[in-house]
Amino acid sequence: MILHILTKAPGSSAALQMQQAVAGQDSVVLIEEAVTAALDPTWKAWQQCQSRIYLLSEDLLARGLATIAVDNQLPTLEMGGFISLTEKYEKSVTWY
């Protein structure tokens, strides 16, 4: 079981490579530029990872995307929630 950390936007090589690497029990945290995924509720990873993919709210706020994430009903977490996921998952891989 792996926690995937994506730092680049959907459509980037990093995002595509992560999508190839995600397995059934894995979770995904979207940070930095990856939070622009909030703009696109049709992005395949939302479906692929269902209830196990989250946007980092601090990075959404910084970029003015917090309202849009709420409107699109996308799951967010704060830094504390990010830490909780790293506690739960022994391994993490960052895609950049």
Partner: protein, 121 residues
């Protein structure tokens, strides 16, 4: 379209992801401060610089929005964005700051031809 002596600064990078946006806007502001007319074209993720709800960034990270708000004081009033790019990002003009001019994507090539000086960030 007539040729213009204005400097065209193209902004293609999002806030906080790198320093491209900041340093591109700095170049635009310095040119304007030196009295050169400046036009801005926002492409791709550069459009995110215009989102009006932007916060101050992570602690200690400088926000971009105050710089965008300063453009008008420097007489930079051409902020071009293509309709297609907005649609691709699922954004409406309501989410952007005031003063943005929408153009069609097919006009972009013409804009570049029109300007004798271009800086691409």
């Amino acid at each position: 379209m007539a040729a213009t002596n204005a400097l065209l600064v193209i902004i293609r990078h999002a806030p906080h992801s790198s320093n491209w946006l900041r340093e591109g806007l700095d170049a635009a502001l310095v040119a304007a401060a030196f009295g050169q007319p400046v036009h801005l074209l926002f492409m791709g993720k550069g459009i995110l610089a215009l989102l009006k709800e932007q916060g101050s960034g992570a602690p200690g990270q400088k926000a971009t929005l105050p710089t965008i708000d300063m453009l008008e004081m420097y007489d930079i009033d051409k902020l071009w964005v293509t309709k297609e790019a907005l649609q691709n990002m699922h954004l409406s003009t309501d989410s952007l700051v005031d003063g943005v001019t929408l153009i069609a994507e097919r006009e972009v090539a013409g804009l570049l031809q029109q300007h004798t000086k271009i800086l691409n960030f």
